[in-house]
Symmetry: C2
Subunit: 325 residues, 2 copies
């Protein structure tokens, strides 16, 4: 880039602007920079860093589960941004195992990825400190990092769950169950907090038996739901803490004679046809926002680490508008 700047007779920042398609460059200057680029055979895989290394850039993406449909649009969005920057995507699943997350992240670093996007399974990420010092750009997405300061892109889980539960309360429910993911997962805890806030807002007490956090395996969710629906004071509505819980809950509730209202955190394909009311998060926007932030860092942005929260959207489709049985 220095050579291009010298040949075009402009500053480094101007070359950067032209290459990134940013405004603030006159047509004449842009032409001169482009000519210098042509003349020098300068090819940019986006980050200047890639140029220096003379190899294809790559970014590592650690997900929780490659097979969970929630991560499909997220991965795809990360890939599209990476592709626009000439970078390849290295992918892996932690399967909710903090040890495996760390192993993957460090294996990616050993492969000298230029950047990392992490959906963490663990809660202590100090193992990343040497890598961060060595300049590996890192963005956490969907769940925050623990004990390190890095860019983070989250969905507003608290606000989304609070709105979803308030929706059930507005439709007359007083006994509402909450089934969520494991308590060490940030989103599970935030959504539970949203549930509790909505109940408190309405002056409703929460019985112990109405809340269940744990594995999202069908058997565990089935049992938790059966317990909430049994006994003298069964719940009349359920707030499902994520798409995996919803799939099992929808199957279980379909077989019931007494209708139970349902709001799902996360949308699901064909949920419109099944009439499932959801608090939708934009999985593609999470991926895109995280990846764009990562590439801005790779381009040398020196901003301090930030935490971005994307809003949710409540989509009423019938199941969340059922009155108490």
């Amino acid at each position: 880039m220095k050579d291009v700047a010298a040949r075009a007779g402009v500053g480094l920042k101007t070359v950067s602007r032209v290459v990134n398609g940013e405004p603030g460059v006159t047509a004449d200057t842009e032409r001169r920079v482009q000519e210098a680029i042509e003349a020098l055979g300068f090819r940019r895989n986006d980050s200047a860093r890639v140029l220096r290394k003379g190899r294809t850039a790559s970014i590592g993406l650690v997900l929780e589960d490659l097979a969970n449909p929630f991560y499909g649009p997220l991965s795809r969005a990360v890939e599209e941004v990476a592709r626009a920057h000439g970078a390849l995507l290295i992918n892996g699943s932690s399967a909710e195992d903090p040890g495996r997350e760390q192993e993957l992240v460090l294996a990616f670093c050993a492969r000298r990825v230029d950047g990392l996007i992490v959906i963490p399974a663990g809660t202590d990420h100090r193992y990343l400190e040497p890598e961060l010092r060595a300049g590996v750009a890192t963005v956490f997405v969907d769940r925050p990092a623990g004990r390190i300061e890095v860019d983070t892109v989250l969905t507003d889980s608290f606000g989304g769950a609070r709105a979803g539960v308030a929706h059930l309360i507005a439709h007359g429910h007083r006994r509402i169950g909450f089934i969520g993911d494991q308590p060490r997962i940030h989103t599970a805890v935030e959504r539970l907090r949203g549930y509790r806030a909505a109940m408190a807002d309405a002056g409703l007490a929460v019985a112990d038996g109405w809340v269940s956090l744990g594995s999202t395996e069908p058997g565990r969710v089935r049992e938790a739901l059966a317990a909430m629906l049994a006994g003298p004071d069964p719940v009349t509505a359920l707030f499902a803490g994520n798409n995996r819980v919803t799939v099992t809950a929808v199957r279980e509730l379909a077989g019931r004679s007494r209708p139970v209202a349902l709001v799902s955190f996360d949308d699901i394909e064909l949920a419109d046809l099944l009439g499932i009311t959801v608090v939708a998060q934009d999985s593609a926007a999470l991926g895109r926002t995280a990846a764009e932030r990562l590439f801005r860092r790779l381009d040398g942005s020196g901003e301090p680490p930030a935490r971005l929260e994307l809003p949710t959207r409540l989509i009423p489709r019938g199941s969340g508008e059922l009155p108490p049985a």
Copy 2:
């Protein structure tokens, strides 16, 4: 390997044994082979190579679309096999663009992946010949390679579609539509061939207007379906050529007063609750089979390239058992 064998004064098989850590080699022979390896800087495409290079092995997986839920279980299965072999997964989508497929494959090769698993978008893969000669193990999955001989793992698209259409015929349908993916995609053509075979088996003619191949975008599928359902001789049943077609068809048919029978090639999450009869393929088994084959090659298996076909499973759930309106 020949050079190593010559220098160590042993046969090729012995070198292979040492490199693969197999038994049947004396300590002295092993030492001689190791010395020859050191001296010649011999590098090999598998775990031994990884050890010596001090880097993690990796395999590249080129999909059509990271966001299509069909590929989730496939990717996950490939990842699990790779992980069991200590290898990382590099991922990318072709977005059905043969140029982008080639670009990704070659970018992966430039990053020196040890092996490739490809769901191709294109039909001519001679661009891979230099890489194959250089020893990059390659397996095609879901769709075959064009003009090169490589291991291929497919679903029995022809047999699956034939069985699905025969199922509709057995339930009394004579006018059956087929909406599939673009005609350059192998699976689309095979499934259409299965449809035609089932119709021919039953002595039924296929009207021109009953078959439509093209993009699986909702708008295109909607139009094709509307055309088949209009006019004096509308179809009474539809065979949907893949999960993307099915999602749109289910939405469109849900709004119709006159019921139209439907069988879907591919299962979809919650299709059980919607009563959608499907010809299910095992996406995880495709990924696992392809990855296992790849790692057998990386471990030095010298078998000739083979073509494996996995069976489908017809799951009746209601939509395929509706009689003609």
